[in-house]
């Protein structure tokens, strides 16, 4: 798992290049923002639904109001799903980056 790719301390190889860093940060940020958007839809949407459709959110589901059920119980598993997706994707992304960096270094030398 933790094998270290040998790196040369010179500043002009691929992994020290602007190109590598830019692509790396862009891919990471894209993943984080996509997951955050899924989370924010519910976080911003729920108060808005409460505001715009109080009758709908006030209907009873097994004694709970729909709004209470979502906020008090269902919100937690929803966030777990997003976190789970993010973690598996980001670990995959890291492995791909290590591979990508090794390829890039080979190409340059």
């Amino acid at each position: 798992m933790h094998h270290k790719t040998p790196t040369t301390p010179q500043e002009n190889d691929f992994i020290h290049s602007e190109e590598f860093l830019h692509g790396l940060m862009k891919r990471q940020l894209k993943l984080s923002i996509a997951c955050a958007a899924a989370f924010l839809v519910l976080l911003i949407g729920l108060p808005l639904l409460n505001y715009l459709a109080p009758e709908f959110m006030g209907q009873r589901v097994g004694g709970f109001t729909l709004s209470w059920l979502v906020l008090g119980v269902l919100f937690f598993p929803y966030v777990w799903i997003i976190a789970r997706l993010f973690i598996s994707r980001s670990i995959g992304l890291e492995n791909a980056e290590v591979h990508h960096a090794a390829e890039g270094n080979k190409r340059q030398s």
């Binding site: 301390p9 959110m57 209907q59 004694g63 937690f76 890291e94």
Partner: protein
Amino acid sequence: MDISQIDPWILACSAVTVVVTIIMGFRSAKSSKSASDFFVAGRSVSVGWNASAISGEYLSAASFMGVAGMVMLSGYDALWYPVCYACGYLFLLLFIAGPLRRFGAYTVPDFAEGRYDSPVFRKIAVCFVLFIGFFYTMPQMKGAGTTLAYIFPGLPYWVGVALVGAVITLNVALGGMKGITVVQAVQYWIKMFAISLPVFVLLSVFGGYGKNLSLNQSPTDFSSPPAIEQSVDPGQMQRLALPEKAPKDEAWISPFGPLTTKATKAAGMSPEESRPYSLLYTFSLIVALVCGTAGLPHILVRFYTNPDGVAAKRTTMWVMILIGVFYVFPPIFGVLGRNFLPELYNATGAKGTDKVVLELPILIRQKYGVLGSILSGVTCAGAFAAFMSTFSGLLVSMTGALAHDVYGRMLRPHASAQERMRMFKWSAVLIGGIAVLLGSQVEMLDINFMVGQAFAIAAASYFPLLFMSVWWRGMTMAGAATGMLAGGLLALACVTLTSVSDILAKTSKAAALDAGEVWVPDALNAFWIGHPLARILAEQPALWAVPLAIGLMIVVSKLTRKTIPADVRMKMLVLHAPEALGLKQEYIQEHQGTAH
């Protein structure tokens, strides 16, 4: 103090929790030897232990006692607190946890200094660790004093604060963080057991969660015949009559209830007029709690105890599951408390709804005798675990800031490892002492209000700093410091202003009632009554303070573009490149080559 009033079961459960905490602290003191053991547990804590420990540290007196009390008092709107406490972790995971861990500094001030090559910025960041930390220890101390006063009726509040403060300080001074990791992890499971077991017993006696909620009727239920009538037989359940002071069913179970309409109600607005204001309040509360979680210093420091970045991410996942499961339970206490302990609405402070968690299990004493006492003892033990674990986590974080940053970096940079360890112990004693002194002064302040203050400051200071420093390479030290200071201090000023005016209003109202006069609001309160929007934005400042801090960071950084650290590309690589590439080691070697 009347000894006959002490319930032996409650006393025994609490005593066991305290004794176990102390024994574990002493035992692990033997195994923690090196300086890095004291600071971040040798960075070798496993995911399971670390996740339990973070959760144990995070679930404070406010979560254990305050959330249930707040749901009982304010209803639906209070549910945002536990949800956002838990979900703030997602933000931490998405944007901050991984990069911060890869950068590999002991503390947040280490990060601030390393990212901007600025010892001055380190000093500013250390001040914020101590500042937010002390704000967050005060409610824990209040919880300690209140719980001890419940177990020993008649015991002065300050004695409880001093006792708990002394025990934890001793524990931290002797064991350091390694000891505390084990203690925190065990205390999470004590808290989980203590909150869930009584809920299962209570629900089997008083009927299900949904059933109890269905006793609160809203107009929607009358306009459309609810499906609930088929599934629940209302004749089976009868709740106690609600006192005058309790919020009405409709306001309690619906969104935009008493918590978010306080300002507009004082201004004499109709419920229809105040709805947009309530929505604004709700959004600002969400921003404060979600961003505040990602910025709490005593939580961040634990990311450094993971062996690598992947472990740090997996830890956050488990923390979210552990605290998410926990947070389903306290609101159930609130709902049951509203139906079966309505007399708490009439009391205030330590005798009010905040003690519903401790008091509710006693109700089943009539039916099951001693089991009620045992269950109340279990929740008391959970309360002990709550304020003890959070306080010790804060103490480690603040002591680390003082011993590692102020002493190790600023005062005596060449101190030997032994001197540093001695300093860690003395710092723990000093900070523990100050925390006890501060804690004994806040008996009259509300636990949740104080926690809210800490979250607002963290949201407007640390969160923008960490978020922007990790993702924008154009940041300069001047920009980061300006945004953090402006956001943090303005948020602090606003929250303090509203709380001071609340205390003024409460005392003058009581005095007017005693004298039989009509209450005349002072200048500040008169202003709030005339300007409900200003009042909401001051009470919940995150909605404007967080964007303000970020905006200032961008503007000032653009103006001071020339001072962007020269090796910013390398720093960004260390923050973002997978650890397997080994850039961190290279960065350290380069830095040591140039710095000395």
